[in-house]
């Protein structure tokens, strides 16, 4: 592998997620699928699993309709379809974390219908802003560790956890640096590489990604940014597995300068500052949070306006998955909050199960014209 080819390598991993799974399986690894960034991957890693983010990909949803109504988000429905289509054969465990109503029910449905897979939910609190909730979160992470001990017959090794945490922290730091360098070198590091790198990190052993990502980043000189006057956009939403928005932004001479997505910065933001289970729990209480969690009435607005200011954002795109309740509840007030800081925004509704439509192109183009 050559660092120069890094963008192609991660693009390839993203394009063939099931192949990645098969490769690890063939190498004799245990894979733990996980549905959400509130699943403490470091713990899974310390138990010898490769955490593998489950992102629904099926475009043609038919069989999942036997289990779930069509007014459930397509992220969940696609994922279920993938399982029914046997795309995930070889997965040893599926780990959920408490977030939204739909995921909550999906856990129950999935568990009932997959008695042969080890299914476990990390019952993370909804409040993430007080000590009582922190104590509960910690108890719950310990319960999770105990469940893994029982299931694997291993005991949690402290050194292994320390090592896992450092590998994850390294990955987080590198992803953060990648985002920063993209802002300096938007031509050389295309936006879509951000997306590919995050998603590839989610479905790889971090040790495999970290080295090559580090070398790739090393080829850029932080002190000589490109002189580029592109419009800077920020994406806000839940899950996005499509490249369209990144490619279109490039095509129109703009750039995705940062994001607040499950499949973006929310995944890697903040380090674990203490190499223990407490440290892992603590990170969730300080990192930018998902709309399904509660940290007060204005936490997301303040965070997003702050991020926009820091990155010099010209406009925000709300990239919303249809039927994703937590995020669509936040939309009108966030839009107002951004507007008050002089940041216009555009809502684009996406459906994971539908082939990309011309809609994104038209809306993005029109929005960029407004920004001019």
């Amino acid at each position: 592998m050559n660092a120069k080819n890094f963008p192609e390598i991660v693009a390839d991993i993203c394009a063939n997620p099931y192949e990645q799974l098969k490769r690890y399986k063939a190498a004799g690894k245990n894979i733990a699928g996980y549905t959400c960034s509130y699943v403490p991957e470091e713990l899974l890693d310390a138990f010898g699993y490769i955490p593998y983010r489950l992102l629904g990909r099926a475009q043609n949803i038919r069989q999942a309709d036997r289990y779930l109504q069509t007014y459930c988000c397509s992220q969940i429905r696609s994922l279920l379809e993938d399982f029914i289509n046997d795309e995930y054969i070889g997965i040893d465990a599926v780990i959920f974390a408490h977030t939204c109503d739909s995921m909550q029910s999906f856990h129950d449905i999935f568990k009932r219908n997959n008695p042969d897979i080890f299914v476990k939910n990390v019952n993370f609190p909804t409040s993430i802003n007080n000590d009582i909730a922190f104590r509960y979160a910690l108890a719950e992470l310990k319960n999770f560790a105990a469940a893994l001990e029982e299931h694997t017959g291993k005991t949690l090794d402290r050194d292994a956890l320390v090592e896992s945490i450092s590998v994850y922290n390294l990955n987080r730091g590198l992803l953060d640096k990648l985002y920063a360098l993209h802002r300096s070198y938007p031509k050389e590091i295309p936006g879509v590489t951000l997306h590919h790198t995050v998603v590839a990190s989610m479905i790889s052993d971090k040790r495999d990604i970290n080295g090559i990502l580090e070398s790739y980043l090393g080829t850029f000189d932080e002190n000589e940014p490109e002189d580029d006057k592109r419009k800077r956009l920020m994406l806000i939403g839940s899950i996005n597995i499509s490249e369209d928005i990144y490619l279109l932004a490039d095509e129109f001479g703009a750039m995705i300068a940062d994001d607040d997505l499950c499949t973006g910065r929310r995944y890697f933001a903040q380090q674990v500052t203490e190499p223990t289970i407490e440290g892992v729990a603590r990170r969730y209480f300080s990192r930018p949070h998902c709309a399904a969690k509660h940290r007060g009435l204005y936490s997301r607005e303040h965070y997003l306006t702050g991020l926009a200011g820091k990155c010099g954002i010209d406009g925000a795109i709300f990239l919303y998955l249809k039927f994703c309740d937590p995020h669509s509840f936040d939309y009108p007030d966030l839009r107002k909050g951004l507007e008050a800081k002089g940041i216009p925004s555009q809502l684009i509704e996406i459906e994971q199960s539908l082939a990309p439509s011309g809609q994104i192109r038209t809306k993005l183009q029109a929005f960029l014209e407004i920004l001019e």
Partner: protein
């Protein structure tokens, strides 16, 4: 259903409640008003003399008078998606227009949200707390994925201990122990009576249908912990028992007994009840009204027992537990089949229903029918389609009856 006094009494009780709440909030400076979710610990508010307001109950009224689409439209204009819970959309609509059967809700001094029924209420209350610029008190009750455990109970109990000073600070009121005990006693009594009232439908023929129960539910939700509720339900129970003694059923020639799942379809109550009655079908039990029939608070340890009770309400239990519950209701009420309302608004209540239907059918040997609708938004409902399906379902029940 034969005319009974309790219907009028309920109208008066609820009217008095809304008028008092609205006038108090507007003209009486010492009034403290709190909006609370239907699964929230209203006992605390009652004990502190704070007026509880239930936007969900209000949403049901809006749905029943068919104002759902109009008020939802107001929320949609503001950018709220049509896919969000229609109670929420109606609530936003009434807040900005002050339109509703009672002319809008009184302004809250604070909001009390408990997420034991759904995650939606938290997002909803965040929106309203910003809109009214008032504090939001949040009681986080983790879903019982693997049943209830001590960590959940402790977490909720500790929050009870911390939200009370929070509410005291907001309102300047104190919670006193004696009053709490008394409220807990009334709450238990009310819940017990409500359970007995629902259980009158075990009788064949049933003296009321679920359509009536949906209506009679309001006091136990909104005024639980007060003497009025206890008195009202005592009267209602007496009247229902009298009907049983006279052998009077709510549906003439009751032939098919059905159990219902999920919220009512508020804007179709009359029509659906007529349609079903025309087939001799009676809704004898449902999972929704039963959700308020089994809390038990120990007046000597109110917060410990409330933590347990509030953390394990029906909607906070997993699909396996819902299957158990539904199955036992069907057996209790000697049903011939069941109807499941797949409610676009209520994802946590509705997702899992396909599994529930199959498994409940397997366990009871009874047929079930899933109806796609929404509790307040008429746009998600088609008379023709649903009535055709109901007719076919009744046909199945008939064939089964004839065969046995």
């Amino acid at each position: 259903m034969p005319k009974i006094d309790s219907n009028k009494k309920l109208r008066n009780l609820m009217k008095k409640y809304y008028v008092k709440a609205k006038l108090g909030a507007k003209y009486w400076p010492f009034t403290k008003t709190c909006w609370i979710t239907s699964g929230g610990p209203v006992e605390i508010l009652i004990a502190m003399g704070i007026t509880p307001i239930y936007p969900e109950n209000h949403g049901a009224m809006i749905g029943a008078v068919k104002m759902g689409v109009e008020l939802s439209g107001e929320a949609e204009k503001l950018g709220y998606s049509q896919d969000l819970c229609s109670y929420f959309r109606c609530d936003v609509g009434q807040a900005v227009t002050q339109k509703s059967p009672v002319g809008g809700l009184p302004r809250p001094d604070f909001l009390l949200c408990c997420n034991n029924i759904c995650g939606t209420v938290l997002k909803w209350y965040e929106v309203q707390a910003r809109y009214y610029d008032v504090p939001l008190v949040f009681l986080d009750t983790p879903y019982n994925y693997d049943g209830l455990n001590d960590d959940i109970v402790n977490y909720v109990k500790e929050q009870f201990e911390s939200i009370i000073p929070e509410i005291e600070k907001i309102t300047g009121r104190r919670l006193n122990e004696k009053k709490t005990k008394q409220v807990a006693q009334y709450a238990n009594e009310g819940i017990k009576l409500w359970n007995e009232i629902l259980s009158t439908c075990e009788n064949v023929p049933a003296p009321m249908t679920c359509f009536d129960a949906f209506f009679y539910l309001a006091p136990i939700v909104t005024l639980r912990g007060t003497k009025h509720v206890v008195e009202y339900y005592k009267g209602l129970k007496k009247e229902l028992e009298a009907l049983i003694a006279q052998g009077k059923g709510a549906v003439e020639n009751e032939t098919y007994r059905l159990v219902w799942d999920n919220l009512p379809i508020w804007y179709k109550m009359r029509r659906l009840s007529k349609t079903l009655a025309s087939y001799g079908a009676c809704l004898v039990g449902d999972t929704y009204t039963n959700a308020w029939a089994d809390n038990d608070i120990n007046p000597d340890d109110p917060f410990g027992t409330m933590a347990r009770a509030y953390a394990s309400v029906y909607l906070n239990r997993n699909v396996d537990a819902k299957i158990e519950n539904f199955t036992s209701l069907i057996k209790k009420y000697k049903a011939d089949g069941f109807l499941i309302h797949s409610n676009r608004s209520c994802k946590p209540y509705s997702f899992g229903q396909f599994d529930i239907k199959d498994e409940v059918s397997r366990r009871t040997g009874l047929p079930g029918l899933i109806i796609e609708a929404d509790m307040c938004d008429t746009r998600a409902y088609s008379d023709e389609q649903i009535e055709t399906r109901l007719q076919a379902f009744i046909e199945t029940l008939k064939e089964r009856k004839e065969a046995s």
